[in-house]
Amino acid sequence: MTAIPKNASSRPSKRAPEVDTTDHSVHALTPYRVISVVLLIVLTILFIFPLYWIITGSFKTQQAVNARVPVWFPVEPTIGNYERLFQKPAFLWLFNTVLLCAASMGLTCVSASMGGYALAKKNFRGRTFLFSLFVCAMALPKQVILIPLLKEMAFLKLHNTLWAVILPTVGWPFGVFLMKQFCEGIPNEMLEAARIDGAGEARTFIDIILPMIKPGIGALAIFTFITAWNDYFLQLIMLNDTDVLSISLGIAKLQSELSTDYGLIMAGAALGSIPIIIIFLLFQKFFTRGITMGAVKG
């Protein structure tokens, strides 16, 4: 993670793929390139297929789902799977997931930008120690601490609530680390100037620091949202009641012991993935920028 690309960090505003007119190989149709593009198209189909299969599968009748010759397209579409899905509180699961992602995102952004600023710009006792602690904890797999974490949540009476998932997500050190890297890019002269102007700590942070690290916060927000959305493990351990399940857990629980109803499961998978895919497609630019910045700085 010390891998900070020098060239990239010196030009952080430069956005990814700008068409490069100086590169002469752009339109050169070498055999390698032709084969590559063909392969790429095959791969595209492979990558889109699971999604296609989820969506079409969710509209298939049970006969079509279990057919030994795959039904490539639901010729007799049915909404029966969705009817069965909505007998369960599926929308509530979706809502829970959005809630816990949003809460994790909000809290992480606030706490990490404050913490990152202090680590980058304040010279205080224990700074080096704390920073190394953050770095060390970053590679730690969450599963390692699941048992004590569970006990702790039980002690705090938070087990089986969304907080049990939100709090450890916010505690994850990556955010602080990322924001520290961003804050380091702020010239000390600006802070000095603010101090001479008599701005207090809070003023300085809100008026000077925050606007400077806004892109960083955006990157962190997207990062946290995706992480929280995909963190099935923590949810599995912490959430029990039907009313507090996340959509991922809900889908996982649709496979019951004595029947495997793929139509129903696909309906659940569709409900769980389509909203975020739409968000992704709409805000694709921000996602890409967020990921890139997270990497460049992280």
């Binding site: 569970l150 089986n160 629980k253 019951s256 012991e257 004595l258 029947s259």
Partner: protein
């Protein structure tokens, strides 16, 4: 004066009721036992309960076998266990009861209905410490099922005694061969071993082939290493190798049932009355389920049973525990309610209750009562049960991967008999 006295008397009688009148909320976790996994059914049952006990609110949580055990484990660790849980002795008695997490229910067995519970059943609900951790509601025997149409097409019905619904090991092997040749369904039977539940089917299949036993008589030692059982496993291994039977470590019992219902497999080793009624709607056209006992060398099977009932977690709240007991009494002992509670499971009562299925939607379930005489004892309360279940799947997986049966069984036994 008299009237006043009568009123006073009435009040005094009503007092205990008033004492309970404070609103209590209890939680019930139910595994999908018959329709007890179905929201509408359970809501209706609870509505009945609330008509009689308006002050006890019951919050239901439906849990499944895939993740349910983990859920209970986390709840125990997090001290968020429900008040009541609905499952069988292997969990309530042998697992959570033995670990001291459940309340003693001996007083329930002293009620009139409690005393009428069949002795073998009541015995299974009692832990090694002599305390009762489950109050049973229903029971059944597990059998297997064949697709009658496939068997008829392969001329294999002759191997089954249609009056007793039993068959022999020889007949089973011959039938599998005939079915494979005929090809009405792509596979004959699938020995699922992907884990999770439905293990009773695979166990009964193995130990019945040569009339072995899964545990000793006292249910304390696993006896898979007996000569009969090893022979049984070797037979299955040979049949899989020959291609007249399939193994599948990739699927669980539920998948095997789906494959039977959609006509892929011509038999399924996980079946019972409730599965019959629950799967009626999903049957493919060429599938006609016909329940049979597991094949055995002498034609007399020993079937696994299921006993399901309620247990109460020790949450340290007396008011809730008392309310939970009222709930259990109502569901299991109330003359009008008990048959309804049992009917919802699709199984049979654990005390004499008469025929509750004839003339109903679940009429077909009556036929399954014919297997009851073959009930071979409830050994699922043997020690180290939870571990044994996982080891069992691993054993099957190793054997079908071509392992030496005697050696693999020795490994399994060394891990289960501690």
């Amino acid at each position: 004066m008299k009237k006043l006295l009568a009123l006073l008397l009435c009040l005094m009688l009503a007092l205990p009721v008033f004492a309970l009148a404070e609103d209590v909320e209890i939680t019930l976790w139910t595994y999908p036992i018959g329709s007890w996994g179905n929201q509408e059914t359970v809501d209706a049952l609870i509505a009945d309960f609330n008509a009689a006990y308006p002050n006890i609110k019951v919050k239901v949580q439906f849990i499944d076998y895939q993740t349910g055990d983990d859920q209970v484990t986390t709840a125990i660790e997090a001290k968020t266990t429900p008040d009541i849980i609905f499952e069988g002795p292997e969990r309530l008695v042998a697992n959570w009861g033995a670990k001291g997490k459940m309340l003693d229910l001996t007083d329930l067995f002293e009620t009139e209905a409690g005393k009428a519970i069949y002795e073998t059943v009541a015995g299974s609900c009692k832990g090694a410490d002599g305390k009762y951790y489950e109050y049973p509601l229903c029971m059944t025997t597990h059998c297997m099922v064949i697709n009658k149409k496939a068997f008829e097409a392969a001329d294999a019905m002759k191997y089954i005694d249609e009056t007793t619904r039993t068959w022999t090991t020889e007949g089973f092997e011959a039938a599998c061969r005939a079915l494979t040749e005929n090809g009405f369904c792509p596979v004959t039977g699938i020995v699922y071993c992907g884990g999770q539940g439905g293990d009773q089917g695979t166990r009964a299949l193995v130990y019945n082939l040569y009339s072995g036993h899964f545990t000793n008589e006292g249910f304390t030692v696993y006896t898979m290493d007996s000569e009969e059982n090893i022979k049984g496993l070797e037979k299955l291994q040979a049949m899989v190798a020959e291609g007249i039977l399939a193994d599948d470590p990739g699927i669980v019992a539920g998948d095997a049932i789906s494959l039977f219902c959609n006509g892929t497999a011509s038999m399924c080793f996980c079946w019972n009355a409730a599965l019959d009624s629950n799967n009626r709607a999903t049957l493919a056209e060429n599938v006609e389920p016909y329940a049979v006992a597991f094949p055995s060398d002498d034609g007399v099977p020993a079937l696994d049973g299921g006993i399901w009932g309620f247990g109460i977690f020790d949450n340290g709240d007396e008011a809730k525990a008392a309310a939970a007991k009222e709930f259990i009494k109502f569901m299991c002992n109330d003359d009008a309610q008990a048959p309804k509670s049992v009917y919802a499971t699709g199984y049979f009562a654990t005390r004499p209750m008469g025929d509750i299925y004839t003339g109903t939607e679940k009429e077909g379930n009556t036929a399954y009562d014919a297997f009851s005489p073959y009930f071979g004892g409830y050994y699922q309360i043997a020690p180290n049960w939870a571990n044994q279940r996982t080891e069992w799947w691993n054993l099957l997986q190793r054997i079908f991967a071509g392992g030496n049966v005697a050696e693999e069984v020795a490994v399994y036994i060394s891990k289960t008999n501690l």
